[in-house]
Amino acid sequence: MSEQGVQVPRALASGPSAFIPAKEILKEGPNQDVLIESFLSLGRVDHISMVMAMHPAYLCCFLKTQHALLEMDGPLPRQWRHYIAVMAAARHHCSYLVQQHSAGYLEAGGEESWLSGLEHAPAKLRSLQTLNKLLAHRPWLITQQHIQELVCPGAEPRWSLAELIHAVVLMAHAHSLCSFVWGCGLNPEPDHIGGYSFQPPSLSHSPHSPAHSPAHEDGRHELADGAVEVEVLMKRMVELQQQQEEECTQEEMVTRFERERSESIPTAVVRGAPPDLVLRLVEEPEFRYEDFAPRGEQAPPTMRAQDYSWEDHGFSLLNRLLPDMGQLLDEKFQIVCNLTYHRMAMHEGVDTHTLRKALWNYIHCLYGIRYDDYDYGSVNVLLERSLKVFVKTMACHPEQTTARIYHSFWRHFRHSEKVHANLIVMEARLQAALLYILRAITHYMR
């Protein structure tokens, strides 16, 4: 082809992730039935699956859910589903997912012009914008009025409740998946923009190769210190587990929660402008997650987990409106909550429950969900600052994740453990968003 003057593209990325060396991933990756199956059905194994394959139990469930969401029977037409996912991914400037779903959208027979801008999409889809925006960045602001505007008999264009809930789950799924994509630094697929080049490879250096990233280098030097850090963390975990609950007032508990919630974690690393491809699909791109004001000022209301929980309320509602989806998501949440290999960094046989719980609750805390029966003091004890930076960035501003942030927490942990943390962030975030929107729907239905 080259002789005929056709440029032959060359894949740029050296592996699925810019943060994780390819050989790490491939160590546990291949020979999994799930991967083989997904390869056979899709004709490729995308980078998401490859990275998730480090946790096969989860990957299996994730693919099942995603398949059900995008391909199986449901109230929305297939091309709409992909388009909604595109809209959602664009909020987080995630060109990876935008391109993945654009392809899916076109494959499902969607009209190409829609992708060139939201104004080409039907009014019904555009009417999701507000919800999309809130769901992505500040789900606690969603009220039953938002639902009413779309669903109530006078609304034009009108959504049915089943359609709406399908769309909402799609959006929440895509938003949280953006966190994962950014958090693992996924490289573009070879056919994505930025995933290939027509330039011949230059020998000097490849900018994407993770092994040469400075942050990583730093990590290696501090390995000795790292070992100590792990020891400390483990000791704290054991202490926390054994510690008899000391009596502390509600005041104190609330303070601890608020402190975690409003702790200022610098995340505002400004990145280059998102590609045009993404930007034209976003309305109000400046609408972002907003740090909760320090206590005393007008803080948005807290959602009490005991008043609206996934197990009791969210599941029932979702299962009612979108049968099977509730079951699949429930399964996914359970898998991610119980996923453990009983090891931490170089230690085996560790009960990581408290650490996972702290991560999960910290993310919910960032979204204003409070557990009465959880002492938020332990978040402070267990999550080091660099980890908090990572978690908060991923959960709230995923598009600002950098290799430095990724490499600077848990420096001595395995990559698979970092991916595990990513999964927890992603699922916790998904659940938080779902809880808010499902609560609004419940209120609307009342």
Partner: protein, 788 residues
């Protein structure tokens, strides 16, 4: 306190009374509990913890237990229970994991008695022992159940549910030592209070969390459980394995379940999401609630029967911040509103119908379905009356079998076998097929055939085959009439009605533009033979009476042939209309018809001249030489109609019989599709011969080639045993002629016949001749060949 005790004594002696009433709470309730003598109720929630006295007419707030300027989370209650022995003792489960007991006898404002903070997570449930004063049980989200002795500072025993969250714990009413615990993973465990090391028994009750359980107050073996899977199940625990004896399917996840006192088979449920009602079920009638309370505007969170021996009072608290007392007599009885008749179609067209028995039997006496020869009551199913409280209901279920299927197949098969598709003149084929259809009681099809004959017959041929047409004008008239009559009368359906309405709308058109509408007039005539009267409108569009006459005529025709209206007028009209269908004998009339219609016009119209001229204009279009193609559009339409109706047989048969007359009008794909469908049907009915005939007669290349599939015969060379690829008689490899005639020893290039016994053979003719004279094989192998 004094006040309270006074109330107690006031109501304690006589039976409780009251009415349906409610009061507003300040905050959503999470749980309620009632004291033993049924005079007070405690309401607990995240932001509320109050005691109300139940008075005759209203709730009266007695005490607010939520004291302090900034109450601690210990006041945020997930559950509350009032001790059934000690009237001053209350216990609450807090969302932060604390178990708190309250002593109403304390003199201070803060009645908090004991505080146990042993649970790490939210406590979902607390439960006092029904007979033991100091024993309290708690179940928590952290997966542990703890038993407290209220005289001690900490728990006396801890039961581990293996890290699964505990949703409910209940002491057994009858077994002193036993309690049941339900779990988030769907399990229910039975524990002995003396053995904290392991459970006595465990079984999976639901898929998903079991939110609640309740022991039957009288029957020691029964445990009711409710789960997120929207089911209430009743388990018999007396046997070795817990046995599910009843199951009630509700419409939303079940948050609470409570047995109704004094009614062995009743229990009350409320739901956690979406559904705000409280239902009381008779577990033997699991499909419809026995009673419903519909007062709450948000989900009901707590239900309790007011007195443990009184089934008529139910208290409930809700997220809508109200506390209700429901009187049983005020409950809605869904059974009264339920539709007592059920009707359902089976997969194969059977029809099941259930109704009150009385209805059915009276029906049977009156013979309500006079024409019901298809009705076969299969069996009557009498349901024994289960409850004294449900109205005596017994239903009868009748199943009506449809015989339609077998009938339909019959006509299909018969028609397929009897139809003639070729081999005779066109008109005869049509007549034959019309007769076949007629015999099979398919008048519409029959008439269609007849009409096809009329439309497409070459006028010259028609004189001989149509003896019934020699009857003349009057003869054709009944034919047409019978067509419209049958169409309208047989109820064969939409088509006829459609046509009729078409005709009517066309009449309107004519009314609108009477002057130049002869084109539409033509259409009319080509489409429906029944629209005899239309030309008349052209003469007499001014006459409204005529319109009436016309419609009257139509009606009358369906009943009798004798018209009450002036006879000539109608006859003449018919002549005009009949012309286009061009039976030969009418051709003579043709010449006269201007005169005739002129006469008619004189009779009926005020403007004869006008009409005369119009007729003469339209005359050529009605000429006897009307080409057959003139009818093609409507025949095409008719074929599509039949095909769409599922009678592809008719479509294909007509297609074949009409042959070239219609073929070009219909696109090949449609034809092919029809053929394929029909052939497929025929083959399913194993009508191989007919299907073969159809294939043979079809003109679609795609169909005719069907007969050539699998007709290739592969042969091997008789010398080298290799497959012969190129020609049948000479082998490419050994260059030998393979098939040589045993008689003439020349190569056989055409038909080769061989004996299956000795496999010698040759030219068909040669073999025939040879075997006429000799019984032995011509090759001399000695075999006695036979040629039949």
């Amino acid at each position: 306190m004094e006040k309270m005790s006074r109330v107690t004594t006031a109501l304690g002696s006589n039976a409780i009374s009251g009415k349906t009433m409610f009061c507003h709470l300040d905050a959503p309730a999470n749980a309620i509990s009632v004291c033993r003598d049924a005079t007070q109720v405690v309401v607990a929630g995240r932001n509320i913890f109050k005691i109300y006295a139940l008075e005759e007419e209203q709730f009266v707030e007695k005490l607010n237990l939520r004291v302090g300027r900034k109450p601690s989370l210990n006041f945020s209650c997930a559950d509350v229970m009032w001790h059934q022995m000690e009237e001053n003792l209350l216990a609450t489960a807090a969302t932060n994991g604390a178990v708190v007991t309250w002593n109403l006898g304390k003199p201070s404002r803060n009645k908090q008695d004991q505080l146990f903070t042993e649970h790490k997570r939210t406590v979902n449930k607390v439960c006092f022992h029904p007979t033991e004063v100091y024993m309290l049980l708690s179940g928590s989200q952290d997966g542990f159940m703890k038993c407290f002795d209220l005289r001690k500072k900490e728990s006396v025993s801890t039961f581990s549910g293996q890290s699964e969250s505990v949703r409910d714990v209940q002491f057994s009413m009858k077994d002193y030592f036993t309690f049941a615990a339900s779990f988030e993973n769907g399990n229910v465990q039975l524990w002995d209070i003396r053995r904290p090391d392991r459970y006595e028994r465990m079984f999976t009750a639901h898929t998903g969390p079991v939110f609640c359980c309740d022991w039957h107050p009288d029957d020691r073996g029964w445990l009711a459980t409710g789960g997120r899977d929207k089911m209430v199940k009743v388990w018999d625990m007396t046997t070795n394995r817990a046995k599910e004896i009843y199951c009630v399917q509700t419409i939303a996840s079940v948050a609470r379940v409570k047995w109704r006192p004094e009614r062995k088979f009743h229990l009350a449920t409320c739901s956690m999401m979406v559904d705000h009602n409280i239902y009381v079920w008779d577990i033997r009638r699991p499909f419809i609630p026995f009673a419903t309370f519909e007062e709450h505007k948000d989900v009901t969170t707590g239900i309790v029967w007011r007195h443990q021996h009184d089934p008529h009072f139910l208290l409930s608290g809700s997220k809508d911040s109200t506390l209700y007392q429901h009187m049983f007599k005020d409950a809605t009885r869904p059974v009264d509103k339920a539709n007592p008749e059920g009707l359902c179609f089976g997969l194969l067209g059977d029809l099941a119908f259930a109704a009150k028995e009385s209805l059915i039997t009276s029906d049977a006496n009156r013979k309500p379905y006079p024409g019901g020869d298809r009705r076969y009551p299969m069996f009557f199913f009498k349901k024994p009356d289960p409850t004294e409280q449900f109205a005596h209901v017994s239903s009868a279920l009748s199943v009506f079998e449809t015989d339609l299927d077998s009938h339909r197949m019959d006509w299909f098969v018969k028609t397929a076998q009897l139809y003639l598709l070729s081999g005779k003149p066109f008109a005869e084929l049509c007549d034959h097929n019309a007769k076949v259809a007629q015999e099979l009681k398919r008048p519409q099809v029959s008439t269609t055939w007849t009409m096809l004959r009329i439309m497409f017959s070459d006028p010259a041929n028609l004189a001989t085959p149509g003896p019934n047409h020699n009857l003349g004008k009057l003869g054709t008239l009944p034919l047409m009439n019978s067509f419209s009559l049958k169409d309208l009368g047989s109820g064969m359906g939409a088509e006829s009605r459609l046509e009729r309405s078409k005709g009517e709308s066309r009449q309107d058109n004519i009314h609108l533009e009477p002057g130049n509408s002869y084109i539409s007039n033509n259409e009319e005539n080509e489409e429906t033979e029944g629209s005899e009267g239309h030309p008349e409108y052209m003469f007499g569009d001014a006459e409204l009476d005529d319109d009436d006459l016309y419609s009257m005529e139509h009606d009358n025709q369906t009943e009798e042939q004798e018209y009450t209206l002036p006879q000539e007028a109608f006859q003449l009209r018919h002549e005009i209309v009949d012309n286009p269908s061009a039976p030969e004998h009418l051709q003579q009339d043709k010449a006269d018809s201007p005169h005739v219609s002129g006469n008619e016009a004189e009779v009926t119209c005020l403007t004869p001249i006008e009409s005369f001229s119009l007729i003469s204009i339209s005359q050529p279009l009605f000429s006897p030489h009307l080409p057959a193609s003139f009818f093609c559009p409507i025949v095409r339409e008719m074929l599509s109609y039949y095909a769409e109706q599922g009678d592809v047989q008719m479509a294909v048969s007509v297609l074949i019989v009409l042959g070239d007359r219609i073929r070009k009008e219909i696109d090949d794909l449609t034809q092919e599709h029809w053929y394929m469908s029909y052939i497929d049907l025929l083959q399913r009915f194993e009508l191989w011969n007919v299907s073969n005939e159809v294939i043979k007669l079809s003109t679609c290349s795609a169909i005719t080639c069907l007969n050539q599939t699998s007709t290739t015969l592969h042969i091997n060379c008789s010398n080298c045993k290799r497959p012969m690829s190129n020609k049948g008689w000479i082998c490419d490899r050994c260059h030998q002629c393979a098939s040589v005639c045993a008689v003439c020893h020349h190569v056989v290039k055409g038909l080769f016949v061989w004996c299956q016994g000795c496999s010698h053979g040759g030219h068909l003719e040669h073999m025939m001749n040879w075997l006429k004279s000799s019984a032995h094989c011509p090759a001399g192998c000695g075999h006695l060949c036979e040629y039949t």
